[in-house]
């Protein structure tokens, strides 16, 4: 399959994450390592990349909320949501929590009939 484009979309999202990362070497390194993995591994490993990227960015969201920085909080939430939505829509991530309309991908991944 011509699935290389999935790699590209994940890389663009990780670039976006880099731009909202906290100014500390650890945060940058974490996303850089994921980008490297996304660039070089098999396309199926993008699941693994997204599974790690989403909680990293979500943690940054909480950090900015704790710091009272609403603007940064909003930007980071946008990135976290974009990573999650892309993961769900590409079937690279399993959906969290209750099913909602359009949740076929989760049902599909879990092996039940749609």
């Amino acid at each position: 399959m011509t699935t290389e484009y999935l790699r590209g979309e994940v890389l663009l999202l990780l670039e976006w994450a880099q731009r909202v990362a906290p100014c500390c070497r650890g945060a940058e390194n974490a996303v850089t390592a994921l980008s490297r993995e996304a660039q070089s591994g098999p396309v199926d490993d993008l699941s693994w990349v997204l599974e790690r990227a989403v909680p990293i960015v979500e943690a940054w969201c909480w950090d900015s909320l704790a710091a009272g920085d609403a603007a940064v909080f909003r930007r980071r939430c946008q990135v976290a949501a974009a990573l999650y939505d892309f993961g769900i829509c590409s079937n690279l991530l399993a959906r969290r929590g209750a099913e909602s309309p359009g949740a076929s991908s989760t049902i599909w991944r879990n092996g039940a009939w749609p």
Binding site: R36, G41, C89
Partner: protein
Amino acid sequence: MTTESVQQPSEAQIAVHWREEEYFYPPASFIAQANGTDPGLFDRFSLENFPECFKEYADLLDWDAYWHTTLDTSNPPFWKWFVGGRLNACVNCVDRHLPSRANQAALIWVPEPETEATAAITYRELWRRVNEFAALLKGFAGVETGDRVTFHLPMVPELPVSMLACARLGVIHSEVFGGFSGPACGGRIADSGSKILVTIDGYYRGGELIDHKAKADEAVATAREQGVEIEKVLVWRRHPGVYSSKTPMVEGRDFFVDEILPEYRDALVDPVSMPAEAPLFLMYTSGTTGKPKGCQHSTGGYLAYVAGTSKYYQDIHPDDTYWCFADIGWITGHSYIVYGPLSLGTTSVMYEGAPTYPDPGRPWRIAERLGVTTFHTAPTTIRMLRKLGPDEPAKYDYRFKHMTTVGEPIEPEVWRWYHQVVGKGQAVIVDTWWQTENGGFLGSTMPALQPMKPGSCGPGVLGIHPVIYDENGEEVPAGSGKAGNICIRNPWPGIFETIWGQPERFVQTYYAKYNRDPKSTDWLDWPYLAGDGAVQAADGYFRILGRVDDVINVAGHRLGTKELESATLTVEEIAEAAAVPVIDELRGRAVEMYVALKPGLTPAVDEIEAKVTAAIEREIGKIARPKNVWIVPDMPKTRSGKIMRRVIAAVSNFTDIGDVTTLANPEIVESIQHKVQAAKLERGQSPIELTPEQIAEIQAFGSVE
């Protein structure tokens, strides 16, 4: 048939979990205007007429010299198409349209900011720009026919202009997707031996102007480390005259294209007449087992193939407004934004930015404004647009006659939304299957002649004769419900010629598995291994199941490792799971599951084993029941946290675990090895002698090419 066998899902169901669907037929209004309405096409492209059938595709092009040999098989599997023929790809995509449609838009570029004007570039204007940039490449950058030039460009019109300028000169272009990092770009520069890098200062994505030039410096440094020196970096500017990057230009190396181009105003460059088999471009794909693969695509064969498939499967007409919502950084964009559509003289739309920016109605606003007739995108984008704006298409007054889906299998439920909501029930859908290596479509339906079936890409396209083989090279019959490795019996003009600089890897990866005689020059002895699993229904339609490397073949049943691991993770106590194959004398391969528990839990071994087994049986079926379930304190992982399946597969099979020094936790390997192998011996599961092929399979497990 026993009750148990009735309850077992088929392999196709295991892998994709959807049923056979009903057919959908194209509307009469589509058939009336379609390019492919003659059922005689299928006879003309039958195996009996191979390879001469592809003359019909090649005749869509203008040739400087006609070929004397349609297919040269003298050095298999390095096929040569249309040998003796000469042509120029740029002439075929630009110059030849000037007499009839000079003032028709060749490209319509939609910038991401909606405040910025859409740019329509006519065929005449495109011809001007291509000539001028070709003159700059030749005169200023000193490139010559046969050189390689790397682009690291996003979705801006300068990208197709640069591609076509190279094609005009007989220079091999190598576009690296804009989202790749500088070092990744540098690795591809080094591999191709490019001396020139073409980039841009910035581009818009998600509402921000991204600084792109910074990556060029990293790319140049990486290429230098790998022994290749970039002589010039040519920098387009997103806003000519305004530099949008914070990265300084390097004196004597970096040059703004818009400052040099005036020196070449109105310059004309004679197109270089190239042999049909001359490389047109390289398209890199990533691989984990070695350096990236530079797929080398030819000039004549590739262009003929994308022109033919664009005509019959994309149903492109010159007066269409065709929008492939993909990125030119991938093969889909090369074939079905640039070379295919432009070779047919149509209007091709390019969009710069994120699909849902600033809102999920954006694609439909573009379609309405430009009068798009033909739309082409990927299932992931369709799912995204459906999730974020399920009712948006109805708000806009556009009408598609034809829609394509590409890149991965599409679930029937999503297919129906695409058909009913995006296509408003009036557009045909072609679901396509192919790969970077293939140049163009391999499996699809000809829209006016073959009905659509959600979830299936369709049969082989014209002149493509797929076959499914099992692990032993036996043909898997259509309608058997059995899955196997989908292969193509015959060469075709769009197939890549080789992996740039790695001919042995080319043969080994794509042909060695099912080759019948390495000395044979008969193409029938060289089936092409696509690397995807598939099942063929009785009607001849294929359903693609995913990469073959992701499955464990248990007694002829192909079990996806992802499905096994997902099923295991439904057990509440389990934090991580990895499925690996173990060589089994009875069943060929058996499944072993490695699981790590959530922190703080004390393993109740028997209980966990039972729960995992029950979960797998429930979610997948009894055929997938694991031979062993091993509870481990942690998985062997890379420093970035990826589970190294090849290491645990080696443990399970008593083979050499290889180099583990680069792991984040190498100490865990010895502990797992000791515990698991001792337990296996206790259970009477002694090591068995493996063949070299089996050892290679275990060592390669988890490393998809």
